[in-house]
Amino acid sequence: MPKVFYTQPDGTVVAVAASPGDSVMATAVRNGVSGVVGQCGGSLSCATCHVYVDEAHRDELGTPGEDEDEMLDCTASDREDSSRLSCQLIIGEGDVHVTVPPEQL
């Protein structure tokens, strides 16, 4: 089973077993990982699921679509090159490492 590793702003890491096909957002919310809110349940309406994706698997997780890309410009914590909305990050066979930003909208 793949795992998602969530690094909190204070450096602690929470590892959660995940199912392929689930999103990084849903996996966090269902397991109570703090810092990922996911209010709209993944319908690209809220941007409360912002994360920074580890360099290593940016390619495998694809690139943001147009709406996601524009929304990332408005996140509460500043956008970086590695910024994604985690409801759009679908877990495959491998582990995923992300960092949770200090603030969500």
Binding site: A26, V29, R30, N31, G32, S34, Q39, C40, G41, S43, L44, S45, C46, A47, D67, E70, M71, D73, C74, T75, A76, L105
Partner: protein, 423 residues
């Protein structure tokens, strides 16, 4: 009020779940029991009228928390039982009894009982094939019936009705929306936004008939066949009734709590006895926006409100009474149209259309020159900027709002850094 109080939450929906989870996140030490009458683990409702109906999301995808979450957080989750009776002791404490005979003792009671769909009060209004949509069970029935339906009549041009109409049309049904008012979304969005969405639905093959007066649902062997209006009959093998939901106040009323179109709560989410808490769809409260007049009462039915209101209730339980202020927001995906609303509009607010690209629609509402609300279709980024600006109480004069040269996203960034500095 203390961290050791045993808390009973009645209703395992969006708001109730949030109360239970936040209590544990905040280090609450007392027992936390969450009782829900639905037989399934807590789930999200919004997809019920959208992705769940099209089949793009299965029931598993709706779960609010994983199965092991509850045990790991020491939250007592009781499903498939309704709280039917509460006996009060002193200082807010008491015992609740469920319809299965279980009793739960508590020091603090939280009502998160939600709302229940209004039914169509005409002959045939309760026939098979006349459905309402609130629960996963409702949505399962609707989904099964939609597969075979050719003629779908949606009664009510509100959020749920229009979402289902869009989904049904996308699935290939002939869809007619019968709306009693002079336009769709009468109470909830402005004229301009209603027109924009009506055009969208029309382009997708959904027919909308306004000022419709329904006389009867004609049935045959228990199944719907047509909806009879004062203007004639509309063929229907499936009728979805989306005419709003009534708050579930029965338990509150039996406790002698004040109800007035919902359980009346103050800015700490406290009911009229000063100790029972109530949150989410079942409540009415004073307009919580920074521009509220303290007199206008509102009942808000949204995920955002359920979640934020729960946070207020939890602070109250923990004794950190911060009053509930919020700029509520809401979304409604109607086929390919994403409607988003922030703030609470009031009659008399001045509507200003912001010039935006094709398919996009952005309208703001000013009260005494201050931006207090906005409605956006098809532009989630612009919406987020507006949400940030309203949240930061950043003044956005009409001229600025209406100026296409002003990048709202840039303004929002400035507003954000200004609030950060101000802290």
């Amino acid at each position: 009020m203390s961290r050791d109080d045993d808390v009973l939450v009645v209703g395992a929906g969006q708001a109730g779940v949030q109360v239970a989870c936040l209590l544990r996140d905040a280090g609450h030490r007392g027992a936390v029991t969450l009782v829900g009458e639905e037989p399934v683990p807590p789930y999200q409702r919004p997809p019920l009228s959208k992705g769940f109906l099209t089949g793009s999301l299965g029931a598993d995808a709706l779960a609010l928390r994983d199965q092991d979450y509850w045990g790991a957080r020491d939250i007592g989750l009781v499903l498939g039982e309704a709280v039917t009776e509460v006996v009060r002791g002193g200082h807010g404490s008491g015992r609740a009894r469920t319809d299965r005979g279980r009793t739960v003792a508590f020091d603090r009671l939280v009502l998160a009982t939600g709302a229940t769909p209004r039914r169509l009060d005409v002959p045939g209004g309760d026939a098979d094939g006349v459905l309402t949509l609130r629960t996963l069970a409702d949505a399962g029935r609707l989904r099964d019936r939609l597969r075979a339906a050719r003629d779908v009549v949606v009664v009510g041009g509100g959020f749920i009705g229009l979402e289902v109409a869009a989904t049904a049309a996308a699935l290939g049904a002939r869809v007619v929306v019968l709306e009693a008012g002079s336009r769709i979304l009468g109470r909830v969005v402005s004229e301009a936004t209603a027109q924009h969405l009506a055009a969208h639905h029309h382009a997708n093959g959904v027919e909308i008939r306004t000022r419709a007066r329904i006389v009867e649902v004609v049935t045959d062997g228990g199944d719907a066949r047509a909806v009879l209006t004062t203007d004639g009959a509309v063929r229907a093998d499936l009728v979805l009734v989306g005419i709003g939901a009534a708050p579930r106040t029965g338990l509150a009323a039996s406790l002698g709590l004040r109800t007035d179109g919902g359980v009346v709560v103050d800015e700490h989410a406290l009911a009229s006895d000063g100790t029972t808490l109530a949150v989410g769809d079942c409540t009415v409260l004073a307009d919580p926006t920074p521009w509220g007049d303290g007199e206008t009462s509102v009942r808000l039915e949204s995920v955002d409100h359920a979640v934020e209101h729960a946070a207020t209730a939890v602070r109250t339980i923990l004794g950190e009474s911060t009053p509930h202020t919020a700029v509520p927001w809401f979304w409604s995906d109607q086929g390919s149209a994403k409607l988003q609303i922030v703030g609470l509009r009031r009659p008399g607010d001045v509507a200003t259309l912001r010039p935006s690209g094709s398919g996009r629609h952005v309208v703001g509402f000013h009260r005494r020159g201050r931006l207090v609300a906005a409605e956006v279709v098809g532009s989630p980024a612009e919406f987020m900027a507006l949400r940030t600006l309203l949240g930061a109480r950043h003044p956005v004069p009409v001229e600025v709002f209406a100026d296409p040269e002003v990048a709202l996203r840039q303004l929002a960034k400035q507003a954000r850094s200004a609030t950060v500095t101000a802290r």
